[in-house]
Symmetry: C4
Subunit: 206 residues, 4 copies
């Protein structure tokens, strides 16, 4: 029983998210990919290789929870990272993977993880109630072998089941939320925090 209207609503949210993120410079060229849970059998996801600032609903396709195409289109190469998030976080309904300058630069600077602390904006991440929290953002080495990368993410999720997002070195970050609005808020907050970390690296020697 597939609900076409529900798919189109999700697709339109992803199209709008793409325009918003591209306007900020956070999905340059054909980088990034987005998805949304449609129902217990279907996920909407961006078609491989499309420019995220110029998406139409034709660029959003249907896959199942094994990442198989349900409509003949070719999904993003990183589909397995999306389905994994939906399986691990039952409350996540939208997954966004931007590829911003700050996220990319900071992901190449540190190994393993970035610790964020003493930022009021940490409170924009669901479940964080004070700036004094230490929030760890895992960093994975980039890998074109997505199943292998997904396994590393899986091991990390086992150890840290409530992370709010993760970085891939030289390759942006993943974050998610209950709604498109939540996921976009997480993107804005993490992007701001990555940029702050970069700024403080640049002024720290003084």
């Amino acid at each position: 029983m597939f609900n076409k209207t529900s798919f189109l609503d999700r697709a339109q949210e992803l199209v709008a998210a793409g325009r918003e993120l591209h306007a900020q410079g956070w999905v340059p060229a054909t980088s990034g990919n987005f998805s949304a849970r449609v129902d217990e059998q279907h996920i909407a996801i961006t078609v491989s290789g499309r420019h995220k600032g110029r998406l139409t609903t034709e660029d959003i396709m249907l896959i199942d929870y094994q990442g198989q195409s349900l409509d003949g289109k070719k999904p993003s190469a990183e589909t397995a990272l999306h389905t994994q998030i939906y399986q691990h976080f039952p409350e996540a309904n939208v997954v966004l993977h931007p590829h911003s300058p700050a996220a990319t630069a900071i992901s190449r600077k540190y190994k393993d993880r970035l610790i964020l602390e003493n930022y009021e904006l940490l409170k924009a991440l669901s479940g964080i109630t004070t700036h004094a929290n230490k929030v760890g953002i895992p960093i994975f080495q980039n890998d074109q072998d997505i199943p292998r990368l997904a396994e590393e993410v899986a091991a990390c999720l086992k150890e840290y089941p409530d992370i709010k997002g993760y970085l891939i070195a030289g390759h942006g970050f993943y974050t998610w939320g209950k709604t498109a609005e939540d996921a976009l808020r997480h993107v804005e907050a993490l992007e701001f925090l990555f940029d702050q970390e970069l700024l403080s690296l640049r002024i720290s020697p003084s």
Copy 2:
């Protein structure tokens, strides 16, 4: 005797301010909050947790000068910082609290205060008539206990009764003005000056 039209006018000014500040990247995610004096009994203020770039007048609520909600909505957690400003500065009618990258980075770099000097743009701050003035911007440590933070601000206002704004570490800044236009001018000017201070830290070793 509450004037509904007056409230809606103020609410629309705050909605417009939010759109303008968000377009600059100065209120990322759900950060920041804004208020405006309606009359001697009423203050309009942003509802807690709303995205400042997408406000409607429904996201602006009414409180009294003790910070109590008058319409059942939940005001910003930092309401006490707003009411304090209206009580201390009789000529202040609009209070803006942006959370910009430059303000946040500079607020984490210095302790206690930032001194601004030799900037023509200091003249954009009400009452400053020459770039040669030294303008001190107090920096408070961030605190989730807002009454305690308000007490620190109160002590500072006693000592420096004519400050033009203040920073909270890792948490942006507060400024105010006679009108929304004045307050926005103060935001633009302070933001520019914080960014200049950051720039000079980055080039100073040479």
Copy 3:
């Protein structure tokens, strides 16, 4: 014999320039001022203290070549710097004074002058035909005494009669052109070059 249409045409060009420069962040708050030659007796100039991103033709006024108001409005405090340029450069018909972050930061870094060299974009400055030219941009110390500042500029113009613009420390820059389009091209080019100089200061130690 004053031509009202000609004044309004010039005023509209200044309004448009203001919107364009403010959108770039080059005239924050009420900084900056602009003018245009109307005829041999009249100059159009921005009224003192207006926000340059929100100008209307009401914010543009008429002065004579001695800088006296001809319509009862109060011209920019820096009017004498504008009239001086029209008197020195007969071919200049538009003068723009932006107050951008890069110009302000670079003007505080160097004393006396900035030398620009090996930039293709130097060719965007009228009369420069190769990147190999050395272009000197004078830097004056900021001064609230505008007649005194104008004297320093006069001495410099005597020695270097064909400069393309100048910086005032902590206070942006002046440039000019035959048309509004020329002057705006000079702004874009100088702004780019000041930003390049700042960038190279930040990466130079390596």
Copy 4:
């Protein structure tokens, strides 16, 4: 047999590209130039000295493969660099030469070439399938003698026949694609990568 419609289609693509690149700050003042293959005898190219953010189809002219004007207008001074690319890369149909801050700064920092590696966004360049590829971007010294510069580029193309773009010191970069969309994707990707390299230079000493 010249197809006017085909020329106008290409011209409109270049006009749109100009608006998009200028909005990003990548063709300041009158910098940059663009072209598109019309057919085996004709190339559309930007007229010399026009502002790329305000192009109309009147600012696009016709040349032949020797770079001669076919309509009396004066083509960009760098026309020979465009025709060379069309002759070397039969699949290239659009050539874009932006003049962005990051490209200009990085082109002045290194001699001979820039090596890009470990960036997922390398995959946005046609023919690159993994972030692990080393992609070399040649850097040529700037030269107002365009035939001499074209000879240096020719020697480089002989040695590295499949480069994706090149930098000219202090003068931006050239890249190309099968379609305007491809060429714009290359611009966005290279711009992002040049900016990353600049960022890492600024944080590397720590």
